[in-house]
């Protein structure tokens, strides 16, 4: 059963801590919608986004960014990191965020928008190798 988080758009990003194992793939999928006042939620058309990425910043201040694997209509966003991508992340606690930009004139953000949907701590872990 999926969990649903409801937040004030003006108070984004939503806090979310994740764990990433280096050398292993990582994937999360979300469906995101907006409701105006008390109206029915309507899914965001993420295909109109011009920037859609996850960013990691390690303790040295080094930033690594990866485009989302999916940013589609009907509110669909997917972050999918390959084993080779997670290997590039330094082990330890990092800051991470999921960032979007929408252009002026887009369906859901006529005035344009740039926002982070999530932010939090990414615990980047190195797995114990087999003997």
């Amino acid at each position: 059963m999926s969990e649903t988080i409801t937040a004030d758009f003006a108070e984004l990003p939503v806090r979310r801590d994740i764990r990433v194992n280096r050398g292993r793939s990582f994937e999360e999928r979300f469906t995101v919608s907006l409701s105006i006042e008390d109206g029915n939620p309507q899914t965001i058309d993420f295909s109109e986004a011009t920037a859609y990425e996850v960013r990691f910043r390690d303790s040295e201040g080094t930033v690594r960014s990866f485009d989302l694997a999916e940013h589609a209509a009907a509110g669909k966003v997917t972050v999918r990191l390959t084993p080779s991508q997670t290997t590039t992340l330094a082990a330890g606690r990092q800051e991470w965020e999921m960032y979007f930009e929408f252009p002026i004139g887009s369906t859901d953000f006529p005035s344009g928008a740039s926002f982070s949907l999530f932010e939090g701590v990414a615990d980047v872990h190195t797995m114990i190798p087999a003997e």
Binding site: D8, F9, S25, E27, E28, R29, F30, T31, P41, F109
Partner: protein, 87 residues
């Protein structure tokens, strides 16, 4: 009175206010209050241009307000579709 180069004020001395070759309907800024006396100097055509421009500005403002107001998002709903997956 200082008048921006792309504006015309019809209640200023008209000899100075009217810029040669200016298309009134294409001005980006228009300080426009056509008075009866302006017709004597500018002519009926220019005054009609000015009146149409003012109406266009009002229509544009109304359309902008109409498109902007209903689209203010207030809440965002995030459903997690799948658990994180590892190979």
């Amino acid at each position: 009175m200082n008048v921006p180069f792309n504006a015309v004020a019809f209640n200023t001395p008209l000899g100075a206010a009217r810029l040669p070759g200016v298309d009134i309907e294409r001005l980006s800024i228009l300080i426009c209050d056509p008075r009866h006396t302006a017709i004597n100097v500018l002519g009926r055509t220019s005054v009609n241009q000015c009146i149409r421009r003012r109406r266009a500005d009002i229509d544009l403002t109304s359309r902008l307000l109409a498109t902007d107001i209903p689209r203010h998002p207030t809440a965002i709903h995030i459903s997690r579709d799948e658990l994180s997956m590892e190979e």
